[in-house]
Symmetry: C2
Subunit: 493 residues, 2 copies
């Protein structure tokens, strides 16, 4: 059988054309590869640098995990005497370190305590289950054991859905299920169930204790302090947004465009979604012992209340921001009437919020904000009476609307600011914040503090959960003596 010569020639030609195309493409791809690879590497290096610079505590945390792991594995594996004691169960200590070591002391302590207590409880119950099963004979034993494993796993898993359990004991319940199952099934094959349980408990305890010690001793990161700083920072962001709002709004109507300047926008936006990080920080903080300026049982829950009110204020600022980007802007004739009162209201409530943030930060009652709140209230009153006055009769209502909307939101913002102030007064009284002593002039303190708050804010990115950097504020003179030491340690971070 012969094929048509022209047809086969065509086939070859088209085939070689495809091949040539494939090769050129392949060559191009190969040539591009090092360039692409280099770009990837450079991009990644830049990302790593950025992550580290945003919060150097991340680098320290990584080193701490390495240290704890190295400590535990060298102590339990290399000395022959110790290894004889624990045998291959030493691996549980290593595992514990990896699973328990968290970013903050509170999270690490919470996980460590959960793990140890759950292992203890599950070990005890597992031994009980083992002896109970032994009583039911050779055939009954495995059946009863399987039934008990099924029962405890089902019940415990359901308990994990309770909001309170989920918030604080989720990891413990998980470890309980695991340890109970392991002890009961191991016991079926290996008679020395008591030894198994005891060795597991001691290795888990060693691992947990090592984590907690490294976490507390080497540049500790306190969730409580992070929560404290996060709330203060959030309120300060709101203050900054408000302070800038008046000028931004009325300058814009004056013709100047400043859409590129997004900093003003970004400030309050991170407050809108900080709910979940606040809650988890408060949960971790509840595990922490007293540290620095915070005693044990510091009222962490009140911070959540302040945070919620701050978020409500942020919703108002979001509405103001909507006015900033609206199609219809305030007309110049309206602007001349309300500009001063609006700018004053937003400026004064912004200042009040910043003073409130500062009061939290340095832990004094927020009395320095009172005058600004009074000013804001009188500016709002002024604004109201302006709206009431007869000067509007000649102006078209549609032209008045944007200005009136802004004015009424601002009046609402003043109300929010008052509420925030009240909640901070409550916090100050429950947490026994002390007034600044007269030896340090308030003005000097404020300017110094403001600077450090500002520098901290510049360093902070949007990922607040792990990003709220420790502020190295000069501790106020009424502090206890351990504070300077702690802040010195932190300064090294």
């Amino acid at each position: 059988m012969r094929t048509c010569p022209t047809h086969s020639a065509m086939k070859v030609a088209s085939g070689s054309g495809d091949k040539a195309g494939f090769f050129t493409q392949g060559r191009w791809w190969l040539k591009a590869l090092p360039v692409k690879f280099k770009a990837k590497i450079v991009g990644m290096a830049r990302n790593i640098k950025k992550l580290g610079q945003e919060d150097p505590r991340r680098v320290v945390h990584s080193l701490k995990v390495g240290l704890a792991l190295t400590l535990v594995s060298t102590t339990l594996y290399y000395p022959d005497q110790v290894y004889k004691n624990f045998g291959s169960d030493a691996i549980w200590a290593v595992m514990t370190v990896v699973l328990v070591f968290e970013f903050s002391v509170g999270a690490t302590l919470g996980r460590g305590l959960n793990r140890v207590m759950a292992t203890l409880l599950a070990g005890g119950l597992g031994i009980g289950a083992h002896y109970l099963a032994k009583l039911s004979g050779h055939i009954g034993e495995p059946i009863l054991l399987v039934f008990l494993i099924f029962l405890q796993a089902t019940i415990s898993t359901f308990f994990r859905f309770f909001p309170k359990v989920k918030a604080r004991y989720d990891y413990g319940v998980l470890i309980f299920i695991m340890t109970f199952s392991m002890i009961t099934v191991s016991g079926f094959r290996d008679g020395h169930i008591f030894d198994i349980a005891q060795r597991r408990l001691s290795t888990v305890s060693i691992g947990s204790v090592a984590c907690v010690i490294v976490s507390i001793v080497v540049f500790p990161v306190w969730a409580g302090e992070d929560l404290h700083n996060l709330i203060a920072l959030n309120i300060e962001k709101l203050g900054n947004s408000l302070e800038g709002f008046g000028d931004e709004y009325f300058e814009k109507t004056g013709g100047e465009e400043s859409k590129d300047d997004k900093k003003f926008l970004e400030g309050y936006k991170s407050v809108l979604n900080s709910n979940s990080s606040e809650e988890s920080l408060a949960n971790f903080a509840a595990w922490e012992p007293g540290h620095g300026r915070f005693p044990f049982r510091h009222p962490w829950k009140l911070y959540l209340k302040v945070g919620t009110l701050a978020r409500e204020c942020a919703y108002r600022i979001e509405a103001l921001n909507g006015c900033l980007n609206a199609d219809i802007q305030v007309s110049s004739e309206v602007s001349t009437i309300i500009q001063e009162a609006c700018t004053n209201t937003s400026l004064e409530s912004g200042k009040a919020l910043k003073e409130l943030a500062l009061a939290i930060k340095i832990m004094v009652p927020p009395s320095s904000a009172d005058s600004h709140i009074e000013n804001a209230k009188s500016a709002a009153k002024n604004l109201k009476s302006l709206l009431k006055s007869g000067i509007w009769e000649d102006i078209d209502l549609l032209k008045v609307i944007p200005g009136v909307t802004v004015a009424s939101i601002l009046i609402d913002v003043v109300r929010c600011t008052e509420k925030i102030s009240e909640s901070i007064y409550e916090l100050a009284s429950k947490a026994q914040f002390k007034s600044v002593e007269p030896t340090l002039s308030p003005k000097k303190l404020h300017s110094g503090q403001n600077q450090s708050i500002k520098s901290a804010q510049l360093d902070n990115g949007p990922d607040v959960g792990i990003n709220v950097r420790e502020l190295t504020l000069p501790s106020p003179p009424s502090e206890n003596s351990s504070a300077p030491k702690a802040s010195k340690q932190r300064m090294g971070v």
Copy 2:
């Protein structure tokens, strides 16, 4: 030495008084104990019932965990032949089940794949590290091993801070650190490092596969479906809030108080904070294979976009709600002028949002919402021209303000609704939603769907992360054949 008799007598008397007080207190406490205990038990039982009723899938999930754990432990521990193969390493399969089994298929698959891949990678690298260390002699070996453990733990921990890694591979990195450390240190004591790594990999794989199979086969919970329903439900809640707003606002000014009726408030409030649950559901959904109405690579990220726009709309509704609770309410003369236009605007945008929710729910392009959006837009236009008209000249501006504020927020809400509609059109085109075929009259479909959406909403509590109950919608006729089977399975839940 004698003491003064009167003095000692006084002491005794006061002492016995104290004692008597203590005993009465103690007795009272003991008497109260059973009552308190009973109250606690009853309260707990009520809580358990409530949790189960809110989402029966929680009960099913608990049973599934029990089932998977029982399956794995009976298969690996009881048959002698199998136990001979794995020995005490069988415990790793049990551990895997406890740590990998999650509420949704996506989360389980993600954790399982992370665990298996990380074990494989870490096992390989651990063996490599072991042979490298062997080369460096008897003294160099432990030093090099410790150094390698420290290095990998530090680097890997730092990688966990990358947002992308944190979102999808966090668990994998954790398991990588753990397995690498375990293989390297075990290898130092136990020469059979290859066996260790291989047994660990196979037990971990068995455990993961068991989890995935049970998770998919027994009443599967799909994170993707939950995300889909959550977004639809959120938009529907916004729609309900808006639909009711007009009547609520103007009736209130008419004198009727309805502060007790908080349902209207609660609807949109859960949308404000649903950001984190939406994100985690989208992350889990990305792991899921095609299921029911959702093919593999369904555009889950677009749901997040719709969710963000819905949240922006919720901020506006929060502002409207502020007007509802404001001190100064709209006056009756203003009310008569704008009531109709305002009520129409909120009613029509509410209806539009509910139609949009329905379109997502039944996966059709949201064209049924178009007419409502047009109505809302013309109502808003009407509102604007009312504001522009001359009827305001005789009324005091301060009286006009509340009404004008509500009107301008409502005009903004219409803009938000339009944006949401656009994003849902984008979703519909990317996800290839098909139009409803004419065999089923749209009216009939709508009423049926509305009912099931409503009943689902009644069942749902605020904890949306795990609470968005599967809706057993009759699948539209254009569905593929697997859908009815899936929905049948779900109906049994």
